[in-house]
């Protein structure tokens, strides 16, 4: 028995390292920039990092759900753009009440997600193609509305979302924490959250267990749109100006954050708690590289490599267990 207990202990330790290794990577990265730059470990810079990553963190939750399902949603970046443009247009050109404008645009984002889900579930097209097409369509619409001209001059009350503070903590960070908590609650406590895992793990078995597969897909892609919508509103309020390329490439950053956080690209595996680390790694990396004066293009090379390495780790891990 003693021998078995030992083995169990060892297995637990291995599991712990596997599950939380990403936080070790984060700490190493923080350590590196703390030594390599002067201003990194300053409290206001750290708060800055937190605020910078909050949009990423918010949108990651919906994206993580989609990945768990074994799908992908390339349209989130463009949804963020459209939300910026439409909300800006409603506020400035229509003079709409900010609360109403926000609610309407988030509903719009959710409906775009629902459309993705409906097409994927009913026409059984590959999610990659559906959401890629949707991305192009939405980018076009955003451009048609804004005509490429930035929209600005929002009411002051609207700025609270992106620029306000609750105590010492920026509002976007608070929103991110709330949304990550909601995401974790959905995955750990609700039955539909459990369905995401079941579907991503084995769709046929999930169906035969009485799960209404289509409904789950509608829900997950709608949530992806919904969270992207909220992220878009936060960005709009923070930058105070709506431009038609604001969300460009964000889908890949979100994907990187999720995969770094251990959400498997093959579906069925992952937890919200590690996404926080994934998001923070990207934030720390961006911020640190800026402080070190790394050029934008070098940053692209590094960020692309991070995505590649993260996915490679994920795939290697899965090949071993298969």
């Amino acid at each position: 028995m003693g021998h078995l207990e030992n083995l169990k202990g060892a297995a637990k330790a291995v599991n712990f390292a596997k599950r939380n290794g990403i936080y070790i990577v984060l700490l190493v990265l923080i350590g590196f920039f703390a030594f390599a730059t002067e201003n990194f470990l300053v409290s206001h810079n750290l708060m800055n990092v937190a605020r910078q990553v909050s949009m990423l963190g918010i949108a990651s939750v919906g994206f993580a759900f989609v990945l768990l399902l074994g799908g992908i949603d390339l349209s989130v970046g463009s949804v963020i753009t459209l939300v910026n443009v439409v909300c800006g247009w409603l506020l400035v050109n229509q003079g709409m009440n900010p609360v109403l404008a926000v609610v309407l645009t988030v509903i719009m984002a959710t409906l775009i997600g629902f459309a993705n889900g409906w097409i994927i579930a009913n026409i059984q097209m590959p999610p990659l193609i559906v959401t890629l097409a949707m991305m192009i369509i939405i980018e076009g619409i955003a451009f048609l509305i804004s005509k490429g001209v930035p929209i600005y001059g929002f009411p002051e009350s609207f700025a609270v979302i992106g620029q306000g503070y609750i105590g010492p903590i920026p509002v976007p960070v608070v929103i991110m924490i709330v949304i990550l908590s909601i995401g974790a609650f959905i995955l750990n406590k609700t039955y539909f959250g459990r369905y995401f895992y079941a579907l991503g793990g084995n769709e046929e078995a999930a169906k035969l267990s009485g799960i209404k597969v289509k409904n789950v897909k509608y829900l997950v892609y709608s949530l992806s749109g919904f969270f992207a919508g909220i992220a878009g509103i936060v960005i709009l309020s923070r930058t105070n100006s709506a431009t038609s390329n604001v969300g460009e490439g964000m889908e890949l950053e979100i994907l990187t954050a999720c995969v770094l956080g251990g959400i498997s690209v093959t579906g069925g595996v992952g937890r919200i708690s590690n996404i926080v680390a994934g998001v923070l790694i990207l934030g720390v990396l961006s911020n640190g590289m800026v402080l070190m004066n790394v050029t934008e293009f070098t940053q692209m090379v590094i960020k692309g490599s991070v995505l590649l390495i993260a996915v490679a780790f994920d795939c290697l891990q899965h090949r071993k267990t298969a």
Partner: protein, 492 residues
């Protein structure tokens, strides 16, 4: 002469010792059976021979050459070939192209299809197999595809052929042909390592049998010097009283399920009834419409005509959810593909079909969920340290028990078992039979689909035989007879 020797092979995984100091030798030209319950270590042993697993300790000696571990390439180069349960064939290519996949015979830069067909035909001729080398593999039945796999291994000069449950997917005629090929292989000097749960074929085909249990070698015996009872005793380490446990007479007069003129999904105009407390067996060949009927009853396929009544009420489920809610459960045939959620825990696998019932405001009552999983773990004896274990870490028999737990938890009135004991060891089999008995004694009804003649005859109160999507015969228990059933099953 020993062609292959395994010496003191040990393989440890975190928390489990899969193989503990196992030594076996294999003689040239013999068929050597590996038997044992699921989780006994057969797969790990095979994987050590093919290089898929690297042992922690021990030596593998192939014709005098010693290795502490193999790679897949080394293993193949030294003449070890494997016929897995899942074939590695490309349906869109011809038989000959499959046999020479990756090693195509060439004339200059061009693939020489004629030469490949000729070479393939030579192998087939040698073993008296009638397959056209130019046929597309996708057009062949499972039995012939398996023979293509064997030919592929032989074309790679395999002298040791490992066969993992080769007869499991075959009809009896196909199995018969496989046995002939195995005999010819032996005669030509190929050593066969034969893994199977089917006792009859082990006694028919093999010279020696090695029994594994819990990662240890129990014994290697000469087939001619042992018998089934002794072997089963060695495998399970305890005596099984009888394969098919007695059950009390419990059939009531009330009809639970009434199916009239059901069609669709390949099923043609089927009518039958199941009474409360009755086990109805579905016999027939693969593709006869048994699984297809089950799918219709469970709402997993669309019916085109007919009625399905449960307790006198029309149900006609459109989705599995409808079926579950009206009291029907299906333990599917393909455990890996359709049953188990491999990355999820035993707890989650048990509760998945009733999550909404044990949730309030979308939130799962986790206490109730744990209670359920613990209850079934105890009552149907799922061997695991904890319900938080992932189901993929369990043996096949225990996985099947978890799937059964899932359906018992849904409190069904009718449980459909589709090949419930396929690929499951003797001990777990017997436990599943006991469970079926408990269900009907409790007034539930069971529809049992099985390709194992003994099982369907041993467990059923009544048997319906299907053939070509239609009912071709129906027998009461007193009339059960293997030949009669086979005749009904192969009617054309």
């Amino acid at each position: 002469m020993n062609i292959l020797e395994l010496k003191n092979i040990t393989k440890k995984y975190p928390g489990v010792i899969a193989l503990n100091d196992v030594s076996i030798d294999f003689v040239k030209g013999e068929a050597h059976a590996l038997v044992g319950e699921n989780g006994a270590g057969k797969s790990t042993l095979i994987k050590s021979c093919t290089g898929a697993v690297i042992p922690n300790e021990g030596k593998i000696v192939i014709e005098g050459e010693e290795f502490s571990s193999l790679t897949p390439q080394l293993s193949e180069a030294h003449g070890i070939g494997v016929i897995y349960q899942e074939f590695n064939l490309v349906g869109e290519l011809s038989v000959a192209e499959n046999i020479f996949l990756g090693r195509a015979i060439r004339k200059g830069l061009v693939v020489d299809k004629k030469a490949m067909a000729r070479e393939a035909a030579k192998i087939f001729e040698q073993f008296n197999i009638d397959i056209d080398p130019n046929e597309l593999v996708g057009n062949l039945t499972v039995g012939y595809q398996q023979l293509v796999e064997i030919a592929k291994a032989l074309s790679q000069k395999a002298r040791i052929l490992i066969m993992d449950e080769p007869s499991a997917p075959l009809t009896s005629a196909e199995a018969e042909r496989l046995y002939e090929v195995v005999e010819k292989l032996k005669a030509s000097g190929v050593t066969i390592i034969y893994i199977s749960h089917r006792m009859e074929e082990i006694f028919r085909l093999t010279e020696r049998i090695t029994v594994l249990r819990d990662g240890q070698k129990i014994d290697t015996v000469k087939t001619s010097e042992t018998n089934m009872d002794d072997l089963v005793k060695l495998m399970v380490g305890r005596e099984l009283k009888e394969t098919y446990p007695e059950r009390k007479a419990c059939i009531s007069d009330e009809v639970l399920l009434d199916v009239q003129n059901l069609s669709g999904n390949g099923v043609k105009d089927i009518s039958f009834q199941i009474k409360k407390g009755e086990v109805l067996g579905f016999a027939g060949l693969i593709g006869a419409g048994r699984t297809e009927t089950a799918e219709l009853l469970f709402g997993a396929a669309k019916k085109t005509a007919g009625t399905i009544q449960l307790n006198g009420k029309e149900v006609s489920p459109k989705t599995p959810r409808d079926a579950i809610d009206s009291g029907i459960a299906l333990v599917p045939e393909d455990r890996k593909g359709k049953g188990a959620l491999m990355e999820m825990t035993i707890r989650s696998n048990t509760s998945i079909a009733i999550l909404e019932r044990i949730s309030k405001c979308f939130t799962i009552d986790s206490k109730e969920e744990r209670r359920l999983a613990e209850e079934y773990k105890q009552s149907i004896r799922i061997k695991t340290p904890t319900i938080e274990q992932k189901i993929k870490n369990l043996s096949g028999g225990n996985q099947q028990k978890v799937i059964i737990a899932r359906w018992l938890a849904s409190e069904p009135e009718l449980v459909i078992f589709d090949e419930p004991t396929r690929g499951i060891d003797v001990g777990a089999k017997s436990e599943i039979y006991t469970l079926v008995n408990a269900l009907v004694e409790d007034g539930k009804s069971v529809l049992m689909i099985s390709s194992e003649m003994e099982e369907v005859m041993g467990m059923s109160d009544r048997i319906i035989v299907l053939c070509d999507g239609k009912i071709s015969g129906s027998l009461d228990r007193k009339d059960f007879n293997q030949e009669t059933i086979m005749n009904f099953a192969s009617q054309k």
